[in-house]
């Protein structure tokens, strides 16, 4: 066994970095489900779209422009999806929603293939994020530190908006009892529409952030879907804190599983999922009430 402290610090940072990437991805999905009770399996496809938009924008105007514009573009796709499908499917039950959004994955996948081709694309990291930083006594890639910081910023921002602002209060009211909220003069439909767009933008953001780390290829949406769903099931579907807890648990189990028991690493996370489903089917950190 390796006794060097730096090794374990590095692995903990790896775990944190993976957790934050998964958090960015799953938070959009949890927020949409938590507030709208809508299962959007096409979320992974929006993440892939984010990465593709980023690759195109970055080729023209550089990475920072991509970081800003790609989530906006994905939110735009979200608007189309909402007015085309989601609005009509709101009341039609989870089975129909799962089927339609699962189909959407393949439609979007083939559209990315038609537009961007089959060859994987790449985004270069801007120079200031390119090197390595000394963190806690170890050298760690700056870009990964950036992902961790960005994840924490998004978490802080969402916690603030949901917990401390008027809009946050309206959203929480809509979740608790949408009819009563509507009686009080809140336009619940419009609120949900905004929430959906923000959720899509977050998926796009996750795509941009993941793109320089991974490769931008048509199948990235399918690769990420299962980990995201596992995060949500482990955390318990509802608001923010649970999404974070699920992502952290996934990140640490996956990373330390790969180090300590490489033969089991791909099974461990499913074992955890099964254990959670058997022992606490509502998720480890269920919504109160």
């Amino acid at each position: 066994m390796i006794t060097d402290l730096g090794f374990w610090t590095l692995q903990a940072l790896n775990a944190l970095q993976l957790s934050m990437l998964l958090f960015l991805l799953s938070v959009g999905l949890t927020v949409i489900f938590g507030l709208m009770h809508f299962v959007n399996l096409a979320h992974g496809a929006l993440y892939a779209l984010g990465a593709y938009f980023a690759a195109s924008v970055a080729a023209m105007w550089g990475y920072w422009a991509a970081l800003l514009l790609a989530p906006v573009a994905v939110a735009g796709v979200g608007v189309l999806l909402y007015s085309g499908f989601i609005q009509r499917m709101r009341k039609s039950g989870p089975m129909a929603q799962v089927l339609v959004t699962f189909g959407l994955i393949f439609v979007l996948l083939d559209m990315t293939r038609i537009v961007w081709g089959d060859l994987p694309l790449a985004i270069e990291v801007p120079a200031m994020l390119g090197g390595r930083l000394a963190v806690l006594g170890v050298e760690y890639p700056t870009y990964r530190v950036f992902i961790i910081v960005l994840g924490l910023v998004v978490l802080g921002g969402l916690a603030f908006v949901l917990g401390r602002t008027q809009i946050g209060a309206m959203i929480r009211a809509g979740v608790d009892n949408d009819e009563m909220a509507a009686c009080l003069g809140i336009n619940v439909e419009r609120l949900f529409f905004c929430v959906f767009c923000v959720g899509c933008a977050l998926a796009g953001l996750a795509g941009v952030v993941a793109a320089p780390l991974l490769s931008v290829s048509p199948d990235m949406s399918l690769q990420i879907l299962i980990p995201t769903l596992i995060v949500i099931v482990i955390g318990g579907l509802c608001l923010l804190q649970r999404g974070v807890a699920g992502a952290l648990l996934f990140g640490f189990v996956q990373t330390f599983g790969a180090v300590l028991a490489p033969q089991l690493s791909s099974v461990l996370i499913y074992a955890l999922l099964a254990a959670v489903l058997v022992i606490k089917p509502v998720g480890l950190f269920p919504a109160k009430g």
Partner: protein, 390 residues
């Protein structure tokens, strides 16, 4: 009356067969959708170019029927049946995934239809599962990696850490390398097999490799995983202290530009790179660049040589399934990869292997050939086959 009609019919069929004998129907069985669509299109472009450049050398004409395997073995089996029974093809070429090859193997073997494998590298396909009807013009997993173990030891590398995805090809590639490297006197100080197509973050494995005390890391990754791996390896700053070596697919010319500067200095072993210097390769690279707009990859040359093998077989007088299968086993020519031949004991290709370094030039990344390693036929691996009949 009835007998006469039947006899007439029989005669008509015979005449029909003779009349179209010079027209060879070729079934291209490739993934045009799914995760390997890029490879399918690359092989297809190579195959087309091969017919275009060498088609005039033979009297035969070729008619191509394309079917999409979708990289799904059951789908591919259905498509192979369609090509054989309905389209009545004389020969099938293609097959990217070894899973697909395993699925169609019994079908083509049973129907006695010649199959030219243009990618799938599973050692077993020209080992225990070999067939006189299946000729491989691409490579076998072991063949590409075996010479690298000895070569790296000669370069002074003594301790190696290996990484590969956890599936048959990953294990065959690493095993072949490990066998020759340890036989030469080297030591494998650690290895990991990462979950295939489920690993997005290689950070944990890279940290592990770094602390293993190895002189170098030897890996096999392909496609999207290769891009993620090379970029993440570079971002951890491992390259200066722990040079990265790999099976050639790691920095294939097909996607090396997506890896960018991260791929610089990576040394890999392959059966083809577009910078091999010979006349046949110059002709191939020029033709491919004119058609597609970029340099060809090892996948393109496999399609190109598959078409060339078919043309050589018809030049030897082959006209139908049986004669084509027999002629394909005796094909030999000088192509972009050097002198190629088919080992009649296994029907696998015998070809030189190249080690190369990815280097930056003004117009992007390119491959600098370091050494040409001699051609070696694979061991029979349990393959028992009738000798070639003349």
């Amino acid at each position: 009356m009835k007998t006469t009609t039947l006899a007439a019919l029989g005669l008509a069929t015979t005449i029909a067969t003779t009349a179209t004998a010079e027209d060879i129907r070729v079934g291209l069985l490739l993934p045009y959708s799914g995760v390997y669509a890029a490879l399918g299109n690359e092989i297809d472009a190579g195959f087309e170019l091969g017919l275009e450049q060498f088609g005039s050398e033979t009297d035969a004409t070729f008619e191509i029927v394309r079917e999409d395997t979708e990289v799904k073995p059951p789908v591919a089996l259905g498509k192979a049946k369609k090509l054989i029974l309905q389209e009545n093809v004389d020969v099938i070429a293609g097959i990217v995934s070894s899973g697909v090859l395993g699925a169609v193997r019994d079908m083509v073997h049973g129907a006695a239809v010649p199959l030219i494998v243009a990618n799938a590298g599973n050692d077993g396909a020209t080992g225990a599962d070999c067939s006189p009807f299946i000729t491989r013009m691409s490579f076998s997993n072991g063949q590409v990696n075996r010479p690298m173990g000895t070569w790296m030891y000669e370069q002074g590398v003594r301790k190696v850490y290996t990484l590969a995805p956890d599936y048959a090809a990953g294990r065959q590639m690493i095993d072949a390398f490990e066998a020759t490297f340890t036989a030469a006197g080297g030591e494998i100080v650690g290895q990991d097999f990462t979950p295939f197509q489920k690993t997005q973050d290689f950070g944990p494995y890279l940290t592990h490799a770094k602390s293993s005390g190895a002189d170098a890391v030897y890996v096999f990754y392909a496609g999207g995983e290769a891009i993620s791996f090379v970029k993440q390896y570079d971002s951890f700053g491992l390259k200066p202290e722990l040079p990265l070596y790999g099976s050639g697919f790691l920095t294939s010319s097909l996607y090396v530009n997506a890896q960018g500067p991260a791929a610089e200095g990576v040394i890999a072993v392959s059966h083809y790179v577009p910078t091999i210097e010979n006349d046949a390769n110059a002709k191939f690279v020029d033709g491919f660049t004119a058609n597609v707009g970029r340099a060809p990859s090892e996948f393109a040359v496999q399609g190109y040589d598959a078409a060339r093998a078919l043309i050589e077989a018809t030049k030897a007088g082959a006209t139908d399934r049986a004669s084509l299968a027999n002629a394909l086993r005796q094909v030999t020519f000088d192509g972009p990869r050097g002198t190629l031949s088919i080992d009649p004991a296994t029907n696998n290709i015998v070809q030189p292997i190249y080690t190369y370094e990815t280097v930056a030039r003004a117009d992007g990344l390119t491959q600098k050939v370091l050494a040409q390693l001699p051609s070696e036929a694979d061991p029979a691996n349990g393959c028992v086959m009738d000798p070639v009949s003349n």
